[in-house]
Symmetry: C2
Subunit: 291 residues, 2 copies
Amino acid sequence: MGFDAKDYLNERKKVVNSALLEYLPPDKPQTKLLESVIYSIYPGGKRLRPVLCLAASELVCGNHDGALPLACAIEMVHTYSMIHDDLPSMDDDDTRRSVPTNHRVFGEAVATLAGDALLTDAFSLLAKKLPQNRVSSELALRAVSLLADAAGSKGMVLGQAFDLEMNLSLPSEEEVLNTYLLKTAKMITASVVGGATVAGAREDELRSLQFYSEKIGVAFQIKDDLLDSHNAADKGGENAQKHTYPSLLGINAAREKVFELTDQAIKNLAVFEKNPNPLKEIALWLSERDE
Amino acid sequence: MGFDAKDYLNERKKVVNSALLEYLPPDKPQTKLLESVIYSIYPGGKRLRPVLCLAASELVCGNHDGALPLACAIEMVHTYSMIHDDLPSMDDDDTRRSVPTNHRVFGEAVATLAGDALLTDAFSLLAKKLPQNRVSSELALRAVSLLADAAGSKGMVLGQAFDLEMNLSLPSEEEVLNTYLLKTAKMITASVVGGATVAGAREDELRSLQFYSEKIGVAFQIKDDLLDSHNAADKGGENAQKHTYPSLLGINAAREKVFELTDQAIKNLAVFEKNPNPLKEIALWLSERDE
């Protein structure tokens, strides 16, 4: 009878994957570039950001139809950021989700271009498909603006630049939290606030959701670090050179911070009367997950 | 009394540069990322694409006010493409416009991110500033769509992927022309058709301008190759390994093609009665330039 966050996430992941299959058909890519794009989009992971986008839309207007193109565009932008982050000049990662990274399969040049293509095509998708899904031009334009701001020079890209710098010196807790806000929470915020926006949310609802998603976004990154440091310890600590919240503040302080942020996030959902509230349950699940 | 294309280009370049200074203030960039962005945006070159955008808008509605944000967004996307094209994994260029390329100054990671930031911020600019310049949300969304399609996986990025492949085999004339259409003409088309779109052009005007700009776009790239091969010959032929239209078809055939395409382009301007027509004069100037 209770609400199962994991079931909900899995169900909505299927919805996201169906929509992606429609927008980015994986069968017989005609060019190496598209092959490289498809390689990184499928099969994908939790599809957390697009699922949050659908959940926020459902919370506001009861369905997620209008939010589907935005959810997929967000996943495309997220995927581009993973491809570029993995490049040798950045984090220089050889594997992601247990398979070789894009540039290890297609080479650096094609991987860079595949990222560029995903980022660009995401905006084409928004501009074309949101109106087809009966989102007004005004709201569609707000979605473009939200996504671009979350991903651009004052959002995720700046966070990635700070992340690279963070390893060159000893950052303060404030600097780490700010980097996490930029590199992770901004895109999670665009997902939640964007999904609510195209659903026609009121300004007070949007403010609450912005606060909620900034908190869960930072908590999500710290939790990721905790899981990574656990896995790295298993593998002999190969990630030890990277400065993270847990490596700088300690495992216990990091765990504490995840619960504190999650608690603050949930309190901000009070404006919504829906019970159970999927966003609350997802926040709790994220803070307790072991994957 | 006659219309001087070079004067027109210089005058409109000043207009573009003023608008860029407003949207991307170069004073005291707060972050290394922004410093890297500013480094590649200023002082800039001819600003050809944004000037074409303004010219097309003027041709349709008599002024370029609505087109200014689009003109600047196009220059940002063009600049991102230059930064990424210059990367070691791509064309591996050390200088551009006689100064060190972005990655030679800021390193590959920051240069990659600066390109990503410019591409993303371009869409934020469109979504925010076009409505402020009294372009309707519908037309602003069409501008987003036009720019994303011109730059994305079926446009410029695909052209760049083909360009990299072109050096691995001996391409046919048709393959070279298709690569030039994608890597160069698509963005020139977005400039011209986009400028006309936000000015409220009719469908028949847009069709004529699309044809015009595809022709001058390909002609522009062949002319660039001719100028490059001339300069490379002066410097001892350092560009000789790259397959281009002139290197494959010969200098004379390339010159011939530039004039043929320019002629076809100009014929398509007949729908516009304005005389002199700046787009006609720019096309002629581009085909005859020596810079």
